[in-house]
C-alpha cells in the first residue's frame, strides 16, 4: 500500500485544466496523467523489470497504448505544441515496440526450437540440402582425383594444414597422426578452439549465400576437396578404414552441420534469385528466418562436434569404437531431422 501511494505521488498532477486558455492545452492536460502512466509502464518493460509492474498497470497497457495513439492522431490535427507532439510520437513508438515486441522468452523459444521448429526448417529446405550434399560429394571426388593424378595438387589444396600428412609420408608416419593422446590435458582448449573455428566457417558459408549462393558452393567445394585429397593419401597408404574412423567420430556431426550451414546459405541465395510471385525483400526475409533456425541448430551441432573431436577422438583410439560413435551420431541426427514433428505454435499457421 505504501508502495502504491509512493508511486501515485510520482506523477505530478497537471495544473488545473480550466486554467488553460488553449483548447489543445486542455486536451493535453486532461490526458497527460495517462500518458505518464503509460510511459512508466513502458520504461519498466524496457528495463525488463516485469515484476515491478503492478497487475492493473499491465492490464491497462493495451488500453493506454491505444489512447495515446489516438491522442497522437488528434493532437496532430489540433495542436501546434511541437514538444508535446514529439513526446507523443516517441511515447507511442516506444509503447508499440513493447506491445509488439518479442513475446517469447529464451526458454520457450528453445523448447519450441528443439521440439520441432529446427527439424521442420531443415526439411523445408530439402532441395538445398540435396544440392549441398551433391556439391560436397563432388568436392571430395575432385580432391581425390586431382591428387591421384598428380601429387603436386596436394600441396596446392592442403598446403601446410596437413601437419605431416602428405603423399609418400610412409605408413607409420601417417598412422602416428591418427593417434589420440593418453591424458586429457589441453583437450578442453582444443575442443573450444575447434568449435569456434568450425562455427566461423559454417557461419561464413551461410552469410555468403546472400550472393545468390555461388560463394557458398565454392566454399563447400574447396573444403571438401581438401578432405578428398587427405582421403586419397591415407587410402594410398592402406589406412583408409583407420582414417575414415578417425574422421567419422566427429566428422559425421561436423560435416552435417557444415552441410546445413551451406544449405541455409543456398536457401537464402536461391530464394533471392527466384523469389516466385513475392517481392525479393519479403521472399528473402522469409527464407532468412528459416535459415536462421537451421543455423542456430548448426551451431549446437558444432558444439557437440567440437567436444567429440577434442575429447572423444583423442581419448578413444580403436577405429571400430570411433566409427561406432560417429555412426551413432549420424543415425541420431538423421532420425531427428526426418522424424521429429513439432506441434504448431499457438497463433501461427
Amino acid at each position: 500500500m505504501a508502495l502504491a501511494l509512493f508511486r501515485k505521488a510520482e506523477i505530478a498532477p497537471p495544473p488545473e485544466v480550466e486554467a488553460a486558455s488553449l483548447r489543445s492545452d486542455r486536451f493535453r492536460l486532461e490526458r497527460e496523467t495517462d500518458w505518464l502512466r503509460l510511459e512508466r509502464i513502458v520504461e519498466a518493460l524496457e528495463k525488463n523489470r516485469l515484476r515491478r509492474i503492478p497487475d492493473d498497470d499491465l492490464l491497462a497497457l493495451p488500453v493506454l497504448y491505444r489512447q495515446a495513439a489516438s491522442s497522437l492522431a488528434v493532437a496532430r490535427e489540433t495542436s501546434l505544441d511541437a514538444a508535446t507532439l514529439a513526446y507523443l510520437e516517441s511515447l507511442v513508438r516506444r509503447a508499440w515496440f513493447q506491445v509488439y515486441g518479442p513475446r517469447t522468452s529464451f526458454g520457450t523459444w528453445l523448447r519450441r526450437f528443439l521440439g520441432g521448429g529446427w527439424s521442420e526448417a531443415v526439411r523445408a529446405m530439402w532441395l538445398e540440402v540435396c544440392i549441398a550434399l551433391a556439391v560436397m560429394i563432388a568436392g571430395t571426388a575432385v580432391g581425390w582425383l586431382l591428387v591421384a593424378r598428380d601429387n603436386d595438387w596436394f600441396q596446392a589444396l592442403v598446403g601446410d594444414m596437413g601437419q605431416g600428412r602428405r603423399p609418400g609420408a610412409g605408413r607409420e608416419a601417417l598412422a602416428e597422426t591418427l593417434k589420440g593422446t593418453d591424458s586429457g590435458e589441453g583437450l578442453t582448449m582444443f575442443a573450444a578452439y575447434l568449435f569456434s573455428n568450425n562455427t566461423g566457417v559454417t557461419i561464413m558459408a551461410f552469410a555468403l549465400g546472400f550472393a545468390f549462393g555461388i560463394p557458398t558452393l565454392l566454399l563447400l567445394l574447396y573444403n571438401m576437396a581438401v578432405l578428398g585429397a587427405l582421403l586419397w593419401v591415407f587410402v594410398d597408404a592402406g589406412l583408409g578404414w583407420e582414417f575414415a574412423a578417425w574422421l567419422s567420430i566427429h566428422g559425421t556431426t561436423e560435416l552435417l552441420a557444415i552441410l546445413l550451414g551451406g544449405a541455409a546459405g543456398l536457401h537464402v541465395g536461391r530464394t533471392m534469385a527466384f523469389p516466385g510471385d513475392r517481392s525479393i525483400p519479403s521472399a528473402a526475409s522469409e527464407a532468412g528466418r528459416r535459415a536462421a533456425q537451421v543455423m542456430a541448430g548448426a551451431v549446437i551441432m558444432l558444439i557437440v562436434a567440437g567436444l567429440l573431436e577434442g575429447y572423444g577422438r583423442q581419448l578413444i583410439e580403436q577405429p571400430a569404437a570411433r566409427a561406432g560413435v560417429g555412426g551413432t551420431m549420424l543415425l541420431f541426427w538423421l532420425a531427428y531431422f526426418l522424424l521429429k514433428r513439432g506441434r504448431p505454435a499457438p497463433g501461427e499457421p
Binding site: 524496457e46 525488463n48 496532430r76 501546434l80
Partner: protein
Amino acid sequence: MNAAATLRPHVAKRHRELVTPEGLALPLTIAGRGARAGALMLDLAVIVIGFVVLLIALGAMGLGVLEATAQDETTNPAVEFVAVMLIMLVFLSRYGYFLWFELGPRGATPGKRALGIRVAARGGGRLTAEAVIARNLMRDVEVFIPTIFLLSGIGSGLGAVGWAAFVWLAVFVLFPCFNRDNLRAGDLVAGTWVVEADRRKLMQAMSLGADRTATYRFGEAELAVYGEHELQVLEGVLRQDNPQAQRQVMEAICRKIGWEPGAGDERAFLEAFYAALRARLEQNMRFGKRKRDKFDGGSRQ
C-alpha cells in the same frame, strides 16, 4: 495534412509511416547511415576495451595467459581453463554480443542505445528471435571479415585476388548506401530495419503561463504575419530561456508588427505572443486552414 511536410527535407526522406495491426499510422524515422556506423564503432570499441581490460586484469593476476596459450604443452589446469574462457569469449563477442542485446526488450546494443536507434521488424510485424539471429549471422561478412581483411593488410600485397576480395567485401559494406531504407544485407535477409527510437520527456507547455491577454492585446493583422514554422522557433527560444536571444527575437517581432519594444519584459511579451499566435493558428487549423510559415498565404488544405 502530412506530418512529413513539417520536417526538414533530409529527415523527411527517411520518414516512414508504418500501419500497425490495429490500423494506426505510426511515424518512424529510418536511422541515418552515420548513426548506424557510429553505433557499430561504439559497440566494437566496447568489445575491444572489454578485452583489453580483461587481459590486463588477468596479467595483473599473474597468470600470463598469453605465453601459456602460445606453448600449450606446459599447461596447468587453471591456465587451460582461462584459455578456454578466452576462446569462448572471443567467439561470444563476435557472434553473441549483438545477438544478446538485440533480443532484449530494447532491441538495441549499447552503441545503438547511445545513439537512440533500435532494430525493428520491417512492415510492422513482431521482431522475432529468428530475424535477430539472421541479421547478426550476416554481420560476419559485413563487419568482421572486412575488418580482419583491412587489419591484416592482405589487400595491398595480393594483387588481383586481393582487389577482387576487396571489391567483393565492399559490396557488402556499402550495401546500406544503395537502398532507400539504409538496409544492410543482414537487414534484407532478416526482414528488419533500424529506426530512430528517441526517448523524450513530457515538457511543460509554453502557453500555460499566467494569462496576459489583459497586458498584451494582439490584433488580427499583427498575428497574421507569422506561421507554424515561426511558432516552433519561438517555442524553442522560450524553452532555451536565454535572455539575449529573447531580446533579439522580441525586437524582430516588434519590428515586424510595428510595436515599440519595451525593456525588461521580454519573456512576458514572448509568452503572450506565443499563446496568442498559437491560439490563432490552432483555431484556423480546426477549420482546415494552415499557414506553414510567414511566406505561406494561408492555403486551405
